[in-house]
C-alpha cells in the first residue's frame, strides 16, 4: 500500500497507515526523495505510529531515507515509535543513528522549525 505524503509548508509528511512490505518501504523512500526535490522541502516527517514492528529492514530503510534527504538539503524526524517497538528495536540492536525522533507531529514540526 502506497503511503500518502502531504506537503505542509516547507515540510513533507508521510503518514504510514498500515503494515508495510519491503517494496512499500522502498517506494516510500523513493517517493519522499522525489517530492522533497519537487517542493524544495527543508523537512521530512515520517509518522510510524501505526507500525507494530520496526525490524532491521524497516529501520535501515528509514535511516537510508533520512540520509538521502540530508544529502538533498532536508532534515528528517521519525514520529511516534511505540514504546514496545522501541524496546524490541533495542533488543535487536537497531539504531536510527543521528536521525531525529519525536513523540508527536507537533514536536516534530517544532524540531524542524518550519
Amino acid at each position: 500500500m502506497r503511503v500518502p505524503i502531504l506537503k505542509q509548508g516547507d515540510c513533507v509528511i508521510a503518514s504510514i497507515q498500515s503494515a508495510l512490505t519491503d517494496e512499500d518501504l522502498y517506494q516510500l523512500r523513493d517517493d519522499l526523495s522525489h517530492l522533497l526535490g519537487k517542493y524544495r522541502s527543508k523537512g521530512v516527517i515520517v509518522d510510524v505510529t501505526v507500525l507494530d514492528v520496526m525490524d532491521s529492514f524497516a529501520t535501515r530503510t528509514v535511516r537510508d531515507l533520512a540520509q538521502m534527504a540530508r544529502l538533498r538539503g532536508a532534515e528528517t524526524v521519525i514520529v511516534g515509535i511505540q514504546p514496545e517497538v522501541a524496546f524490541a528495536m533495542v533488543q535487536l540492536g537497531l539504531e536510527l543513528g543521528n536521525v531525529a525522533t519525536s513523540l508527536d507531529l507537533e514536536e516534530a514540526l517544532a524540531l524542524l522549525q518550519v
Binding site: 512490505t21 507494530d52 514492528v53 535487536l92 537497531l94
Partner: protein
C-alpha cells in the same frame, strides 16, 4: 477459541516474497495474542518472525513458517519453526554474532531474534537448508 482448540492451533505460512513476511508476522502475532502474550512480548515475537522470514526470502527464496502452541506441565508458550531448503549456513556460530551478514542485511537478524525469544535452535547443513526453532514462554 476455547482452550482445547487453542492447544492444537497451528498456523502455517508459505514464504516466497516480502509480502509473505508481513503475512507471517501478522498470523503469528494473532496466535500469540490468543495464547495470552501481550505488549512487549507480542512485538518481540512479531519482530523475530519478521527477521527469520526475511532470511528465508533473502537466502533461500522460499520456505515456510509454522507457528503452534506448546504446553508443558507448568508452562504454556508459542513455538515458531522456520524451514527452508536453501543454501544453509556454513558457520552458525559466526552467523549468530552481531554484525555478521553474508548478504545485504545488517547482520542482526539471528542474534537479535535469539535475544527476543526464550529458546532458539538452528539446525542447518550447507546445501541442505535451514530450520530455526524459536520458543517463547508465557510469563
Amino acid at each position: 477459541m476455547n482452550r482445547d482448540d487453542l492447544d492444537h492451533a497451528v498456523r502455517a505460512i508459505r514464504i516466497a516474497s516480502d509480502v509473505d513476511i508481513v503475512e507471517a508476522r501478522t498470523a503469528v502475532r494473532s496466535l500469540a495474542s490468543e495464547v495470552g502474550f501481550a505488549g512487549t512480548d507480542l512485538v518481540m515475537i512479531a519482530t523475530a518472525v519478521s527477521e527469520i522470514a526475511r532470511n528465508i526470502v533473502e537466502y533461500a527464496k522460499r520456505g515456510q513458517v509454522i507457528c503452534s502452541v506448546v504446553q508443558t506441565t507448568s508452562h504454556r508458550g508459542l513455538e515458531i519453526v522456520a524451514r527452508d531448503e536453501g543454501p544453509g549456513i556454513a558457520d552458525v556460530s559466526q552467523a549468530m554474532q552481531d554484525g555478521y551478514s553474508s548478504a545485504s542485511g545488517l547482520g542482526l537478524g539471528l542474534p537479535g531474534s535469539r535475544r527476543m525469544m526464550d529458546e532458539f535452535l538452528v539446525d542447518t547443513k550447507p546445501g541442505r537448508g535451514t530450520t530455526i526453532t524459536m520458543r517463547k514462554w508465557l510469563p
